[in-house]
């Protein structure tokens, strides 16, 4: 897996590169700002770009803008965005055109190496990785139209983990249930929310996020 890292903080940038190389991953280039990222992507054609949201010059949302631009220039480039804090508007901007090959995680998730690598691999493989905090925030802000209330507590748990981008097997492992049970829950959830059922993880993420967003719009 060929990786480009864009992060303006030197210690984090090097730490991240060190960690990934130790895991046998191929960090082909690092960049300190959006222009550097775009140049590195053009030169190395990586599989994944890991991008910090706050970068020079204004330290606001340069990373998001750069990630969207990088994907426009190289369709299919997987991007994992790291953020100092959960900002749902960032997630919405990033996921405006679907969630295939996209990830949005809080920075501190890199410390849980196993899970971070999981998310990275998922994104590189065209899946999605949405931070649990983002999902929780979406749920919390969704004063639903009532349809969400129809879900059982278990189904809500499954929905939340599904929204993070996990596949059925991973959901089953996280919730300590069988894959068959997960499959059943998901069919039930999709039926209750009037969503078209699918087994493709990233499609599900998009559907669920869009649903949550629309539910907030309606409320």
């Amino acid at each position: 897996m060929r990786i480009v890292i864009a992060e303006d903080d030197a210690l984090l940038r090097e730490g991240l590169a060190l960690l990934l190389r130790a895991e046998g991953l191929d960090v082909v280039a690092t960049a300190t700002d959006p222009a550097g990222l775009l140049a590195a992507v053009a030169e190395h054609r990586p599989d994944v770009a890991i991008v910090d949201v706050r970068m020079p010059p204004t330290h606001t949302d340069e990373g998001i803008v750069a990630a969207v631009e990088a994907r426009r220039r190289q369709p299919g480039l997987a991007v994992l965005v790291l953020s100092a804090y959960v900002e749902e508007a960032f997630a919405t901007d990033l996921l405006a055109h679907g969630s295939a090959g996209l990830g949005y995680l809080l920075k501190e998730r890199v410390g849980r190496v196993e899970e971070f690598l999981d998310a990275l691999r998922r994104v590189a493989a065209g899946g999605a990785a949405i931070d649990p905090d983002v999902v929780a925030q979406l749920f919390a802000r969704t004063r639903s139209d009532g349809r969400l209330d129809r879900l059982s507590p278990r189904e809500r748990e499954v929905l939340a983990v599904m929204a993070e981008g996990l596949g059925n097997a991973a959901i089953a492992a996280r919730l300590f249930v069988t894959e068959g049970a997960v499959h059943k829950h998901i069919r039930s959830i999709f039926a209750k929310l009037d969503l078209a059922p699918t087994d493709l993880a990233d499609r599900r993420v998009t559907a669920v996020l869009r649903y949550l967003e629309e539910a907030r719009g309606r409320a």
């Binding site: 903080d9 100092a84 920075k107 410390g111 190496v113």
Partner: protein
């Protein structure tokens, strides 16, 4: 013995203060004389135009003359502002003659022109000649024999001195003149500036309206400064401290993975994690300190400033004795001003040293920071977010929010001097 020495020292200090005040007063009188001369010219011009109205052309010329009167008045306003309380100028002179003549500010300015061309001129001339003559008489005994006989007379009487006794008498009288000049000068200066302070400041109603406008503007500035401050704190927490802690977490995670593979690999990672944790602590302390230095709360402004002076990379001499306590927000602002000014000194001035002076004058706190650097410091436009200019804009905003004054003199080639006064607010 010690008490005597102390009393002598006090007396010397008082003498120095009196002399300093007299010198200030003479300087003011001379400045007043300059505006008085200009006032005479402006008044004559207005009078000529007024007379010319009889034949019609005056109507064309008068508005220009009134604007000239305004220019002279503004000069006086600036002069008065430099030597004391700010005198705020009025709105521009109305374009149409009738409106201009009905304008109270214009009328008051005409009144001032009359006062300045008479009283102001006389006082100014006196202020100039009095000390010269006094000095001439006081030194009379030294030179009276070396000048022609007709010049051997004191400046105050047409009397030709014939002998040493007379010369000594003139010198004695000269000393008396010096004493009188020193004593009277401040009064003369005050009397000279009185018509200006009275007539050139806005009348009560306008004054209040302008005051409200000013307060509205400074309040908005205060809120802006506050928001900018919060933004700065947020930024240093997110981009500094948080990144350090994330790095700690990342390195610990990497170390954990390394332990499983090869324990020897983990040791350097743990060391780096500890370094990152220590950096986080240093940055956290810096952020907390920049919000409100703890020493300011626990001890005094003087202690907080001596901490600043001691840690400044450019040697800094601090003079902040007997300043007492002010309102917490005022002390915080004074601290901020000095901190920011010293940062600018380090970053931009190439100075070898700086001097910070803090004085308590009645209910005002006067802060001055001067360096021996290259000068040329300037406030940049409000939009700029980097460089020294924004620091100066920040200082100005915070000082204005306290209703204080701010002046920056920084000719190219140096030195740079920044002066701020703040009401103590107690």
């Amino acid at each position: 013995m010690e008490a005597l020495a102390q009393r002598e020292a006090t007396a010397a200090r008082r003498g120095g203060r009196v002399a300093g005040r007299a010198l200030d007063a003479f300087e003011q009188l001379a400045g007043g004389l300059a505006t008085s001369v200009l006032a005479v010219v402006a008044l004559l011009w207005v009078a000529v135009c007024a007379v010319a109205c009889v034949v019609g052309v005056g109507f064309w010329l008068l508005p220009g003359a009134l604007r000239a009167a305004r220019a002279v008045s503004d000069r006086e306003r600036a002069r008065l502002t430099r030597s004391g309380r700010e005198v705020i100028g009025p709105h521009p002179v109305p374009d149409r003659l009738r409106a201009a003549l009905a304008d109270t500010a214009v009328r008051r300015e005409l009144g001032w022109l009359v006062c300045a061309s008479t009283l102001g001129l006389v006082l100014g001339l006196l202020g100039l000649t009095l000390p010269l003559n006094a000095a001439r008489d006081a030194t009379f005994v030294l030179w009276w024999r070396s000048v022609a006989e007709e010049f051997r007379s004191p400046s105050f009487a047409p009397w030709i001195v014939q002998g040493w006794a007379g010369a000594f008498a003139v010198t004695l009288a000269g000393f008396a003149w010096v004493a009188i000049a020193v004593g009277v000068a401040p009064w003369m200066a005050r009397l000279q500036s009185w018509p200006g302070r009275r007539l050139l400041s806005p009348d009560r109603g306008t004054d209040l309206a302008m005051r409200v406008q000013e307060l509205t503007a400074t309040r908005a500035g205060a809120l802006d400064a506050h928001a900018a401050e919060l933004r700065r704190i947020e930024r240093s927490l997110h981009d500094g401290t948080q990144n350090r802690i994330v790095a700690v977490s990342l390195l610990l995670g990497a170390a954990q993975r390394a332990l499983a593979r090869d324990p020897a690999e983990a040791a350097p990672l743990l060391g780096r994690a500890q370094d990152a944790a220590e950096q986080a602590l240093v940055e956290l302390r810096a952020v907390a300190r920049s919000i409100l230095p703890a020493v300011l709360e626990d001890r005094s402004l003087g202690d907080a400033l001596s901490g600043l002076a001691a840690t400044s990379p450019v040697p800094c001499q601090l003079d902040a004795a007997d300043i007492g306590r002010c309102a917490a927000s005022v002390e915080a602002t004074a601290y901020f001003v000095v901190a920011e000014a010293l940062t600018n000194v380090v970053r931009h001035s190439q100075a070898q040293g700086s001097v910070v002076t803090v004085r308590r004058i009645d209910d005002r706190l006067e802060v001055a920071v001067q360096d021996d650097g290259v000068g040329g410091a300037a406030e940049m436009s409000a939009g700029a977010s980097t460089g020294g200019g924004s620091g100066i804009a920040g200082i100005r905003r915070r000082v204005r929010a306290h209703d204080g004054t701010f002046t920056l003199t920084s000719p190219v080639g140096g030195p740079t001097r920044l002066e701020v006064t703040l009401p103590c607010g107690l």
